[in-house]
C-alpha cells in the first residue's frame, strides 16, 4: 500500500538556523498538508497546498515558514530561522478525495525537530 514518507526522521538544529523538512506524497494525491505537534499538545494545522500554491494557512505559519514542491515529487517545509519553540513533531499529510464529497488524509511518520 502506498505511504507518505518523510525525511529526516529526526533533525537537531541550532536556534537561528534554517531547516528543510521533506515529504514524498502518495503519487496520485494532489492536496498536501503540514501539521505539527509540540510535545504534550494537540496536532495543529500549519498549511495546505494545492496546484503549486498555498490554499490555506494558520496563524502559526508566519513569514518564517514556507512550502514548495520544487520537483513535482518532494513537498518541503522550510523554517528560515528556527526558534526554540519550533521544536515539535512535524507531520506531512496528503489527501485522497473519496466518493460522496468525503476524503481521507494520509499521514507520514513525522519528523522530530529539536532546536537547541
Amino acid at each position: 500500500e502506498p505511504e507518505v514518507t518523510q525525511t529526516p526522521s529526526h533533525q537537531v538544529t541550532q536556534m537561528g538556523q534554517e531547516v528543510i523538512l521533506r515529504c514524498v506524497p502518495i503519487s496520485n494525491h494532489l492536496y498536501f498538508y503540514w501539521y505539527r505537534q509540540i510535545l504534550g499538545q494537540k496536532v495543529e494545522f500549519l498549511v495546505s497546498f494545492y496546484n503549486n500554491e498555498i490554499s490555506e494557512k494558520s496563524e502559526i505559519f508566519d513569514d518564517q515558514f514556507s512550502v514548495e514542491r520544487p520537483d513535482g515529487s518532494n513537498f518541503t517545509l522550510k523554517i528560515r530561522s528556527t526558534k526554540l519553540e519550533d521544536s515539535a513533531m512535524y507531520f506531512c499529510a496528503t489527501l485522497e478525495p473519496l466518493a460522496g464529497y468525503s476524503y481521507e488524509q494520509y499521514f507520514g511518520p513525522g519528523t522530530r525537530l529539536t532546536v537547541t
Partner: protein, 109 residues
C-alpha cells in the same frame, strides 16, 4: 471557532470490558468528524469517519448534533486496541483537520 475537546487524557480498561472515548466539538455548522488512531511507533491513521457510518475493528462512533459529540465506542476491548486516539473535525469547506488533544487508551490483560 472550531474546537475539539477530548476530556480524558488517559483511559485504562481491562480486556473484554466496554470502552468509550469521549469527544465533543464546537462548530456552528455541520462538520465532518473523524477518529484517528496512532499505535506505538506507527503513524496517525484514519479509524472512522462519521459520514460513512461504518464499524472498524469493532469500533463505532455516532455523531450527536444535539450534544455536539462524537464518542468512540467498542463493546469488548482487546489488548491490541491500546493506542493514542485523536478526534478531529473539518468544516467550512476546508479539509484541514482540527484535532483534540488525544486520549491514550490502555487495555490491560
Amino acid at each position: 471557532a472550531q474546537r475539539v475537546t477530548q476530556p480524558e487524557k488517559l483511559l485504562s480498561v481491562f480486556k473484554g470490558a466496554p470502552v468509550e472515548l469521549k469527544c465533543n466539538y464546537s462548530y456552528s455548522g455541520s462538520p465532518e468528524l473523524f477518529w484517528y488512531v496512532q499505535y506505538s511507533r506507527q503513524r496517525l491513521q484514519l479509524l472512522l469517519r462519521h459520514i460513512s457510518r461504518e464499524s472498524i475493528k469493532g469500533f463505532t462512533a455516532d455523531l450527536n448534533k444535539g450534544e455536539t459529540s462524537f464518542h468512540l465506542k467498542k463493546p469488548f476491548a482487546q489488548e491490541e486496541d491500546s493506542a493514542m486516539y485523536y478526534c478531529a473535525l473539518s468544516a467550512g469547506g476546508s479539509e484541514k483537520l482540527v484535532f483534540g488533544k488525544g486520549t491514550k487508551l490502555t487495555v490491560n490483560p
